[in-house]
Symmetry: C2
């Protein structure tokens, strides 16, 4: 009997992706998909690409690769205050991504589709002689004029961040062997934070009208506050001690204070970073109560430009890492 | 003096892509972009990815790579009867795609943005150790319920195609040295048809309410009619002699009748393939008058399944090429 041939493009789409198709996707059988825009809403769209060996490890579990790809895009929607609706996906895959890989990848998408109530709208599947390259376009919606942009920070604002910072950067260091952590539970926690970010959609969608400026923390806390400050024409001050750390990150930092730069500048946190004025403090505290994500004030916006990180005594902390960008 | 460093991601975006940003793109400074859906319209979205060495040649002029990438997506919108509005672009580029490459790539996009009245909405720029991989998501609009799908072909319909078929497949053969053509003008014409497809937007957007089923010819005329037939539950018959050929393709076929399979099954035509009933013949003829694209009846839809290609005497033409798929 002949060996079963590799699945062709159409069979791959039919087997792995068509089951993920939602309303408007037309079963992935047409040239394009249809969206009925939610009445009275603006649409919000974002796209991110990831490459094996650059943004994820070729040996990473495919379901986690899929979920991280989707989640980093959902995090971008959250950072605009938008509710996710749909996504389109293009996959450029080498031969080594076989049917088992695809089945796991699709299972990861299916899990997150139910968790975040989004569905696949369309895309493309092509072959590549290079590393796996995945591009995702996410589409959400927001009330007209209510999207939270980066350019609204004003002097006097407090700077807030959700969740904890630095876990993902430490998790990557653990996964690549650059950092040793004895406690298996802490190791797994940090690795998981790198591999499976939590898009802060409940918090993000509650922040229009409250946050003056917002983005998610992907390049690193300091660099990302720098982006907000640059487009808002202001400066940022971060109180280093106020930055929220997980117990695992706190323990690692206690053992090696040199990890501070990696924590503050490492990125991949996918927490929300936003500014707001003092009269919104009660509303923000209410949002942070369980089951909401924790929200921590970490600094302030002042006149000027650039971002400073201060220690307990009010002295500048120098962060000379490749991830850190001066503004 | 130090050597000028390679441009970072932000500088690349600011220099090459921000000038392409249109309404809603927020200057490419935010996590996502905003769309105000045109009142009373459905949105139509599609995504395609292309890889150097697979879908284009690494040495191809970057402006033509950009324009083809955009145009194949616009062709998908045309095939739904949709008007294009915006696009998002993710680029995964190796070091060899330097600033000169990017400048040419962006110039190609700028040229087609004005030709087709679309603008850049967002995207991502990442580095890759592999071949250049480009993914584009195009967004258009159509009157609600008027998008033309693939599944509407019925027995008795006439099959139509715009423009001419086979030029791009012959052009690729010329560019890769698989086909020799003495006439420089014909050579250039065929190569240009491969490198710079013409999305049939004027025709496509006029066909809702007229075409029963439609898609663009990308996989090859026979395979693509097969897609329409498969989802419509009908069979297709193509009169081989009726398929419209350019003078260059006609001359090549006269010299080598063996090229017929490449012409009918080679693909990359990006012409519109649609079916309609006889009572629309006058409307279709009117659409085909200059300055409209030529529209040629090439066959018919019958009961059954699969696609046959017949010669002048009504005998089946066998097309045994890798591009041809049996249904």
């Amino acid at each position: 009997m002949p060996v079963a041939p590799r699945l062709g493009e159409f069979e791959r789409i039919a087997r792995f992706f068509a089951p993920l198709a939602g309303p408007g996707a037309l079963g992935l059988l047409d040239d394009a998909a249809l969206i009925d825009p939610p009445p009275g809403r603006q649409l919000v769209v974002t796209a991110d690409a990831i490459v094996a060996g650059v943004h994820f490890l070729a040996a990473d579990p495919p379901d986690l690769v899929a979920r991280k790809l989707l989640r980093v895009n959902l995090s971008d929607l959250a950072a605009m205050g938008a509710m996710p609706l749909y996504y389109l996906l293009t996959t450029s895959l080498p031969e080594s991504c076989d049917e088992d890989w695809l089945a796991s990848f699709a299972a990861g998408l299916a899990a997150d589709q139910s968790e975040f109530r989004v569905s696949l709208l369309g895309g493309d599947s092509v072959a590549t002689p290079g590393p796996a390259t995945l591009s995702l376009t996410a589409i959400g919606s927001v009330a007209p004029g209510r999207a939270v942009r980066r350019n609204g920070a004003v002097a006097g604002d407090t700077v807030y961040v959700t969740g904890t910072i630095g876990d993902a950067a430490l998790g990557l260091a653990v996964l690549t062997g650059a950092l040793e952590i004895a406690d298996a539970g802490e190791r797994d926690f940090l690795a998981d934070r790198y591999r499976l970010p939590q898009p802060r959609l409940a918090t993000g969608t509650a922040l229009p009208g409250i946050a003056h400026a917002m983005q998610d923390v992907s390049d690193g806390l300091v660099a990302d506050l720098g982006h907000i400050c640059a487009v808002s024409g202001v400066a940022g001050v971060i109180e280093g001690d106020a930055v929220p750390l997980s117990p695992a990150a706190r323990h690692a930092l206690d053992r090696d204070p040199g990890l501070l730069a990696r924590i503050l500048a490492g990125g991949d946190d996918y927490e929300l970073l936003f500014t707001s004025s003092g009269d919104n403090a009660a509303a923000i505290a209410a949002l942070a109560r369980p089951p909401g994500s924790p929200i921590t004030p970490i600094g302030r916006i002042v006149a000027g430009s650039g971002v400073r990180v201060l220690d307990r005594a009010g002295r500048d902390i120098a962060l000379a890492t490749p991830g850190f960008r001066h503004f």
